[in-house]
């Protein structure tokens, strides 16, 4: 079996080497259908906007749908690597699928750029994760924006109300650690289910601890319930939310109870309002204009931005890799990986990427902005 495999590998190699100027093949795995489709569709649309030539070479994008399913994502990755002989994989949309694809790309010695959020996709950079990069901000970056804002506004005691699931647990862990480092005390830790019809008990407990601010870690419209209950029970202090609520349905449900809510978001969401001096303004606007020219005004989302940034990383890395090897060879895959790790000051829609041997995300504090809800719309806070 092993002998057969190596024969085939040699045959494939000699075939690849015989083509002098092969195209660069980029395999893309997105969740265009299934539960994560609302994330995957703008990503797929964005891939279609990426440049067709990089460094003078033609680039082919081969897009496969994993239907938000981990097994299909792994199957797609294998197919792209063995049948389509891609040089790099972009994907997948969701964290479980991206985590499962790590083994596949590490085995095939091909670089991968994930568009999913979990920090475990690139941390720690070990033998397998050498090959893996990602573009979305880590939760700890979003959490640090909240903690910094709290520290700057004299918040010493915070009550936490979060989802009783992985989302809430993850945020609690991040938030507690970062708040502790800044001397902010978490005085109440309450949880609720997205399907709950009443959170009066949790809210009363949170208020009884006499906090300076309340932090609600939930995503989508269910996160509005604790906020509405807090206001109804007469809490007037500041309320922080996560970037999980940054959609217009949240504004519709929460109404006037959400005035003044503070939350961090990626810069792409507020691209138009960013001051011209902001380092991400130009690169974020470039994406916003490219996307809205095709899909109409107001159609842009931060999820598509993650796909755009994968393109930004490729445009920075591919010319470097081309100096060392020909596309379609294992040497090119390795050279591309090295080049991705050496990307410096690549400005994308979500921030400025500075990769290193220990940091395969490469984003810093410029990758998020604090916003508030004012007069029923998202408003940028002075940075």
């Amino acid at each position: 079996m092993k002998f057969k495999q190596s024969i085939m590998a040699v045959a494939a190699l000699s075939l690849a080497a015989s083509v002098a100027h092969a195209d660069i093949n980029v395999g893309v795995v997105v969740s265009a259908t299934g539960p994560a489709a609302s994330l995957g569709i703008p990503e797929k649309n964005t891939i279609e906007l990426l440049p067709k030539t990089i460094g003078g070479e033609k680039v082919n994008y081969i897009i496969l749908d994993d239907a938000s399913d981990t097994t299909t994502a792994v199957k797609n990755a294998r197919k792209l690597l063995t049948e389509d002989k891609v040089d790099v994989i972009v994907g997948s949309t969701i964290s479980p699928a991206s985590l499962a694809m790590i083994d596949v790309v590490a085995e095939a010695q091909a670089p991968m750029i994930s568009m999913a959020a979990s920090s475990r996709i690139v941390e720690p950079v070990d033998e397998k994760r050498r090959w893996v990069f990602k573009t979305p901000q880590n939760d700890q970056q979003m959490a640090s924006a909240i903690v910094q804002h709290m520290a700057a506004n004299n918040v010493k005691k915070v009550s936490y109300i979060g989802f009783a699931n992985a989302y809430g647990e993850g945020w609690l862990e991040q938030f507690k650690r970062q708040a502790g480092a800044k001397g902010i005390e978490v005085v109440a830790t309450e949880s609720f289910n997205p399907t709950d019809t009443s959170v009066t008990g949790q809210v009363l407990k949170a208020m009884a601890a006499k906090p300076d601010a309340v932090f609600i870690a939930g995503s989508g419209t269910p996160a509005a319930l604790p906020q509405k209950t807090l206001r109804q029970r007469g809490y007037t202090g500041p309320i922080y939310q996560t970037h999980g609520v940054a959609n217009n349905d949240f504004l519709r449900i929460c109404g006037k109870d959400c005035e003044g809510t503070l939350l961090p978001v990626g810069p792409v969401q507020m691209a138009r309002s960013l001051p011209d001096s902001h380092p991400v303004k130009a690169s974020a606007m470039e994406y916003v204009q490219a996307y809205e020219a095709v899909h109409g005004p107001g159609s842009v989302s931060s999820f598509g931005g993650y796909a755009w940034d994968a393109g930004v990383l490729l445009q920075a890395a591919i010319p470097e890799a081309l100096k060392k090897a020909q596309p379609g060879t294992p040497q090119f895959r390795a050279a591309l990986r090295d080049a991705l790790e050496n990307v410096r000051n690549a400005a994308g829609a979500s921030g400025i990427y500075n990769m290193s041997a220990t940091d395969h995300l490469g984003l810093d504090d410029r990758s998020r902005v604090m916003i508030t809800i004012k007069d029923g719309t998202w408003t940028l806070l002075p940075q």
């Binding site: 009783a164 309450e190 949880s191 609720f192 289910n193 399907t195 709950d196 019809t197 009443s198 959170v199 009066t200 008990g201 949790q202 009363l204 407990k205 009884a208 989508g220 419209t221 269910p222 509005a224 319930l225 109804q232 029970r233 349905d249 449900i253």
Partner: protein
């Protein structure tokens, strides 16, 4: 915890408990008369709330098309039955009502300026759309297998529940809705601020419970339902149609479910899948009542509501565990108390 917090929690628990009480009573009613475990009760809550939200947003709620489709299917079935029995006209006329009514409601919804109507009219329209779905559901899903064992009826209920959740996602989307409150008033009762909506919920529940009591005690249809619940075959021998009893029961249960949804929609965000958990708590209350006793089920519902409120204060992470664990001692007590009789229905 001080006295004020205890009062607020009790008030919150009673508000939720009042809704659970209504649902528990509908569950007891449906089980007693038709032996159907009414799992889809929660979907009627969601459909009621979301249909009202659609109407308030000025859209024609998609539930009305579900009503039309069910009516057409029912008419076809009735006509085919009529053809088979040689009574075409009887079958057709019985069926036509099932089309005429939904179409009339649909036309009404298309013509009226929905968003501008007073809230009472919006609520009546919502009930006009959602409640008949209950009766049609009985005729389509349960009437042909009315004498099947409880297990088969339960399986059908699970299927209907899953279908309704799926359709709910299709009709209303994944994001939730809130409706306008019936009253913006707030009343101070000692240290507690009571919202007008809370009083609406509690008053409506009490009125409905009294009305149901009167219905079962005073009217011929109510007595017929009670007779069917006590002894199905005996009631049939007395000339009470089991089909009519089934239809009427489902109509009532759908009414209670939809009304519960309308009552809670201004207090909380309702999603297409919110109903199940609410109905499950009503179910716990109904189990406390042994799926037979209305007063016990109502008391159980208040207990569930208050327990939920207090456990969300003391141990929010274990709230659901505490509420649903309540069912174990109740079942234990019931199984020790009752003499177990093997019976095949």
């Amino acid at each position: 915890m001080d006295f004020d917090i205890a009062l607020i929690l009790t008030q919150d628990g009673i508000t939720n408990g009042a809704i659970y009480a209504l649902l528990a009573m509908a569950l007891v009613l449906v089980f007693a008369v038709t032996r159907v475990v009414f799992i889809q009760q929660g979907e009627f809550v969601a459909y009621g709330a979301l249909t009202l939200a659609m109407i308030q947003a000025g859209n024609v709620p998609a539930t009305v098309w579900m009503l039309v489709v069910m009516g057409v299917v029912l008419t076809v079935i009735r006509t085919v039955q009529g053809l088979r029995d040689g009574q075409v006209l009887a079958g057709l006329s019985a069926g036509l009502w099932n089309v005429a009514y939904p179409v009339a409601v649909a036309v009404l919804l298309l013509l009226l300026p929905l968003a501008e109507l007073p809230i009472v009219v919006q609520v009546v329209l919502t009930l006009a759309v959602v409640v008949p779905i209950g009766s049609m559901m009985y005729q389509l899903a349960y009437q042909p297998i009315a004498s099947a064992p409880v297990l088969i009826l339960l399986i059908v209920s699970v299927a209907v529940h899953i279908a309704m959740v799926g359709l709910g996602l299709l009709f209303f989307g994944a994001e939730g809705f809130r409706t306008k409150p019936f009253s913006d008033a707030f009343f101070e009762m000692g240290p507690v601020l009571v919202s007008g909506q809370t009083i609406w919920v509690i008053l409506t529940s009490i009125v409905l419970i009294v009305a149901l009591y009167q219905f079962f005690d005073r009217t011929i249809y109510g007595k017929a339902l009670r007779a069917t619940a006590i002894n199905r075959i005996g009631a049939r021998l007395m000339g009470i149609s089991p089909n009519l009893a089934g239809k009427l029961t489902f109509l009532l249960a759908a009414f209670i479910g939809a009304l519960s949804g309308i009552l809670i929609a201004p207090i909380t965000t309702v999603y297409y899948d919110t109903g199940f958990l609410i109905a499950l708590k009503g179910f716990v209350a109904a189990i406390i009542g042994g799926l037979a006793s209305y007063p016990l089920a109502a008391i159980g519902a208040i207990v569930v509501g208050i327990l939920e409120a207090f456990s969300s204060f003391w141990a929010s992470a274990y709230k659901e565990v505490i509420v649903f664990t309540l069912i174990i001692p109740v079942l234990l007590w019931r199984s020790l108390k009752s003499h177990h009789v093997e019976e095949e229905e």
